[in-house]
């Protein structure tokens, strides 16, 4: 594997290999000396055109724990003919002789475009509303760890429900591509205004009725809804959204005993997810965060070690 551009384009073997290695990386997180020499001398640049403290620090830690040199570049998103073109930004960095660029950008497909311009390995840390592959991998990894710890088997045959602003979400696209490959069944729940066009052709079921779907769920993944979308007419009011599509305290009662709650963060407490849900024992949100470093270490290993 030279690049990680998305779940699309990964083979099943790639996915399994990355998840298997991620499992071994947890051990490093428990040690007093959080260091493996494996990527010593490799250089990884975090090129973030969109800010994200969480994802960026996760990649930075992953690189450093593998002894790679890691730097962060906060690039300015430039619209056409203002300042440096995206291509110039990429090729300038590449010319410094770095090994990998972890890139986040508001433009869907931008990381794939960049891969055609540089010699370095490109890692997609989120491109527009297209994909966020390491997020999907860490989500699956966190779910698998939870199931194993509770003797619930694997993702095979599990029901994963994903709820929220799916139209503007790259996380849902990557998860919808990954989870069925691992044997899970995915149901998307969103108001009609927040569904991606052509979602009927995806390998998922779609529902507008959260209450009907929750009792069958093994995992409920809540995705964030931005308040500003109200101004675009995507939903009439925050309370209507929450009452019809939010994971309220009352909805927690409908869940199976072992069902867990996931959220990629950051949370909009009170909008898509209640504090009761976010803070409940079912929440694996913090496990997702620790899974994130392990998965990203695994990705860096698979792309850069050999």
């Amino acid at each position: 594997m030279k690049h990680l551009l998305g779940i699309e384009g990964m083979t099943f073997d790639d996915i399994q290999a990355i998840l298997a290695t991620a499992e071994e990386m947890h051990e490093v997180q428990q040690r007093p000396i959080k260091k493996l020499p494996t990527l010593r001398g490799r250089t990884v640049v975090n090129l973030f055109f969109e800010d994200s403290t969480r994802t960026r620090s996760s990649f930075e830690l992953a690189a450093k724990w593998l002894s790679a040199d890691a730097i962060n570049v906060a690039a300015k998103g430039s619209s056409a003919s203002k300042g440096e073109s995206m291509r110039d930004t990429l090729t300038t960095l590449d010319a410094m002789g770095i090994d990998a660029i972890v890139m986040r950008h508001a433009g869907s497909g931008s990381v794939a475009q960049a891969a055609g311009w540089v010699k370095a390995s490109m890692i997609n840390a989120g491109d527009g509303t297209h994909e966020h592959p390491t997020q999907a991998l860490l989500d699956a990894h966190a779910m698998l760890r939870n199931f194993r710890a509770n003797d619930l088997g694997t993702l095979e045959g599990k029901e994963v429900v994903i709820v929220g602003d799916l139209l503007h979400s790259r996380v849902v696209r990557s998860n919808a591509l990954l989870l069925p490959q691992l044997g899970a069944h995915v149901t998307l729940v969103a108001p009609p205004t927040l569904l991606p066009p052509g979602v009927g052709a995806w390998n998922v079921d779609v529902s507008h009725d959260l209450d009907a779907v929750l009792p069958g769920a093994d995992v409920v993944m809540m995705l964030r809804v931005q308040r500003e979308r109200m101004l675009g007419g995507f939903f009439p009011s925050e309370r209507e959204y929450t009452i019809r599509y939010g994971l309220t305290a009352q909805r927690l009662q409908k869940l199976k005993p072992h069902a867990v709650i996931a959220h990629p963060g950051p949370l909009n407490r009170g909008l898509e997810i209640s504090s009761a849900a976010a803070d409940s024992a079912r929440s694996i949100v913090l496990d997702q965060v620790s899974a994130g470093v392990a998965v990203r270490m695994s990705v860096l290993y698979h792309l850069l070690a050999a």
Binding site: M86, S110, H130
Partner: protein
Amino acid sequence: MTDFIISGPEFADGTRRDLFISGGLLVDERPHGAETINADGLMALPGLVDLHTHLREPGREDAETVESGSLAAARGGFTCVHAMANTQPVTDTAENAEHIADLGRAAGHVQVVPIGAITKGLAGRELAELGLMHQSRAGVRVFSDDGMCVMDSALMRRAFEWVKPFDGVLAQHAQDAGLAGPGACCHEGELSGRLGLAGWPPVAESVIIARDAQLAEATRSRLHVCHVTTAEGVDVIRWAKTRGINVTAEATPHHLYLTTSEVIGYDTVYKVNPPLRTDEHVEAIRAALADGTIDIVGTDHAPHAPQDKDHAFADARPGMLGLEQALSVVMETMLSTGRLDWAGVVDRMSAAPARIGRTTGQGRPLAVGEPANLVLVDPARRAAVDRNASASLSRNNPYHGRDLPDPVELTMWRGRVTHRR
């Protein structure tokens, strides 16, 4: 000025005769001391007329100039181009329009007719000086805010009313700004959802066409719809024409040939506004061009420098080159499929555009007394398109590497050869 004898060309009606050119006109007597051009195996057609070209001068001379753009036009078999108003500064005054006409004259490759903006600065708020642009040396007849859609219905109505006395025509870029905002960059559908690109739904085109057609009806003025791309848009135009509304429409070569699946891979050369659409829409456009619901082919030639395109797909400037391959693509999609014959091609690419633009001396039949505006075409020759072998200053050519007809042998404008292979 050289006289010419063009010997043995075939005409669109299938007949064959020699053409005599003297003093810039087609004459009936064989001139003496003339240069003979052997046109055996070639067709002689009226020079092509483009109602929709972007020459980036003034403002973006790094991407194209009137000189380079009109040279590209001559290579494409054109003898006239209408230059859209979205330059920097915008062509919204008589002086700006005259300046562009002067540049065209100085370049001397094709007749360059400036298009005037409908609104000042293309801002969509106040009318531009439509009448003064018309009465200037530039003689503007076609007005367009292309690039932008005039969203204000009341303003659009006033514009229709203002141009009516001098038979002006409003050419609308039909894109409802609410339904397809500035970020919309890909035909809304399964592919846009999968690629994560903001969708541009067909209804954003058809609602504006419907509104404008009804305004044209109410004011009894003329509407021209730029670059129609949807089956829905075609249906509205068909309805308007059956009602006797004075509406004409245009299709671009790329919307006859390319589909939205080109966007897989996010190559920004395929980013264009309105976007490439699915097979069913391409088919609807071809059928409409064949039956005349769509009246003309307009290239929407849109040169862009690398720094305009080397961005994330959503951020790149939309637009493709079109002048040099326009005839090739029309031959490939309409002629060789039997949907148009040569007479039809001449109508859609020469006569009808000149009629809509009221451009005298262009789009005329090849008959004695008419200006010698013509193109000699080899109907059989093909070649792989090389984007680097272009007169344009830009290289955003979507046909690069594709095997297409390579027809243009010679272009003549007012009796002067402007391009020879």
